[in-house]
């Protein structure tokens, strides 16, 4: 090899230049395939209660984004100041959160018509403005299962609580329903015994639901719904009422799992929305 280089120094130099240029071209082209075409806002259900409420709207933008998000206004609550803060950096993107804190008094809470959409006016650095749907405001429902504790990370966790009255737990479902196959549930009753709904619960009886992501469970769909994922528990009370309770799985400002992020970006770049009805992409 060295002998060949010594015999043909100019050919070797030309080959070196070609290889260096190929390295630049290949790396930049590959990087280009991993970037979002525009910042992506996740949707989520925001539960409202009387008192101080906090709103977290996570979004993604490319790390070398020239046309990054400059500031955001919340259309329904223009008085609530929104702060943008970085949550986590990934290889190609960074995750930020649009955060606001606002007060809801009892009267406003009672007058709230739910579900109320959350829409944002997003101002970009290059001066463009876009309207983005970022989720829904819901009132915190009457609670049959008093939540005692929640924990976990970006791909598994557990929820535990105690029944507030005598009732029957009829169903445990994953919401949105399309994510049913991508999240595995293991419910446990008193004494860590495996539990299979429908099951009768007496007041004060505790249950625990462990959840984990299925390894092949549609990462792009899951990525798009990361902050909407939750459990819907259906209870039948002694007087025959059916009560459905939703409990979110991910924390509102939790950093998205990188595998789900990669799959989501790939799906968005293909042009097919991961979930047209719920997607938080920009409206133009």
């Amino acid at each position: 090899m060295l002998g060949w280089i010594k015999r043909r120094p100019w050919t070797a130099a030309a080959a070196a230049v070609v290889l260096i240029a190929a390295s630049w071209t290949g790396n930049l082209l590959y990087r280009g395939t991993q970037l979002l075409e525009e910042p992506y806002f996740f949707t989520q259900d925001q539960l409202v209660h009387p008192g101080t409420n906090q709103l977290y709207i996570p979004y993604l933008e490319n790390r070398r984004e020239r046309n990054s998000v400059l500031f955001v206004q919340w259309n329904e609550r223009p008085d609530a100041a929104i702060v943008l803060q970085e949550t986590m950096g990934f290889r190609y993107q960074r995750q930020l959160t649009a955060y606001a804190s606002w007060e809801v008094d009892q009267e406003a809470y009672e007058q709230l018509k739910e579900p109320q959409p959350i829409t944002l006016t997003v101002h970009y650095r290059n001066g463009t403005i876009k309207q983005v749907r970022a989720g829904t405001l819901r009132k915190r429902e009457e609670s049959v299962l008093g939540i005692k504790g929640k924990g976990g990370g970006s791909d598994n966790g557990s929820v535990n609580g105690a029944a507030a009255c005598d009732c029957t737990l009829e169903r445990i479902e994953v919401v949105p329903a399309e994510l049913g196959d991508s999240i595995r549930l293991k419910p446990y009753g008193f004494g860590a015994k495996s539990l299979q709904p429908p099951v009768a619960l007496t007041k004060g009886e505790t249950i625990r639901i462990d959840w984990s992501f299925a390894p092949d469970g549609g990462n792009s769909l899951r990525g798009a719904h990361y902050y909407e994922m939750g459990l819907e528990l259906t209870f039948r009370t002694e007087d025959g009422r059916i009560i459905r309770e939703r409990e979110p799985l991910a924390f509102p400002n939790l950093a998205i799992d990188e595998n789900d992020l990669t799959a989501l970006v790939k799906q968005l770049r293909k042009g097919s929305e991961p979930h047209p009805a719920m997607n938080g992409g920009s409206s133009r």
């Binding site: 070196a16 260096i20 390295s23 930049l28 590959y30 790390r63 070398r64």
Partner: protein, 198 residues
């Protein structure tokens, strides 16, 4: 060895050493590279009449002196949390172009030193100039090919490999820079060795 070679050889060595050193205060390089390149160019062109590789190196060093002028004021304000990939692309391309041209200059100088050592019958320096030239050229080539992988590799992983390569390249360059100083001392050594026999 021709005595008239000494000054130009030392000027080449000191010039390139100046290029290696970077003293930045308030964003300005107080040991600007173009001064070092001008010294190397002046030294190389003085030897260029005897050695064609030195003539080519001298011309390239003048070119590098011109191209490196903007670097004096180029702010190195890279945010460590954002990483090198966040530097503007033209700045990165400029840095890589400078590295590539500098590597060619070192290769040409080593070739010229090899010719000069051959003429001065300094066989050890002649062999070392060839070996160090090959080592430096291969290392610089690998670094130039590897640099764009920073766009796709994990930042820390890339830094470990690239940082290691840069360190090796620095050592290779210092080894190459010893050669003009050693060649400049050849005659004096001989004189020193011959002195007791006289």
């Amino acid at each position: 060895m021709n005595v008239s070679w000494r000054k130009p050889l030392r000027r080449i060595g000191w010039g390139l050493l100046l290029v290696l050193l970077d003293v930045r205060i308030a964003g300005i390089d107080w040991l600007p590279d173009f001064v070092g390149y001008m010294m190397a160019a002046s030294g190389s062109l003085r030897l260029g009449s005897e050695f064609p590789a030195m003539r080519r190196a001298g011309r390239l060093a003048w070119g590098l002196a011109a191209v490196s002028l903007p670097a004096v004021l180029m702010p190195y304000t890279m945010n460590p949390t954002e990483g090198i990939s966040q530097l503007p692309l033209p700045v990165q391309l400029y840095g890589q172009l400078m590295l590539a041209l500098h590597a060619v200059l070192i290769v040409l100088l080593c070739t010229g030193l090899r010719e000069a050592a051959s003429k001065a019958k300094a066989r050890d320096i002649q062999h070392q100039a060839g070996g160090r030239r090959t080592f430096y050229a291969l290392l610089a080539f690998v670094l130039l090919v590897f640099y764009p992988f920073q766009f796709n590799l994990e930042e820390l992983q890339w830094w470990v490999w690239y940082g290691g390569g840069v360190l090796l390249l620095g050592i290779a360059e210092l080894l190459a820079l010893r050669l003009p100083f050693r060649l400049a001392r050849v005659r004096r050594h001989r004189v020193d060795k011959e002195a007791p026999t006289l």
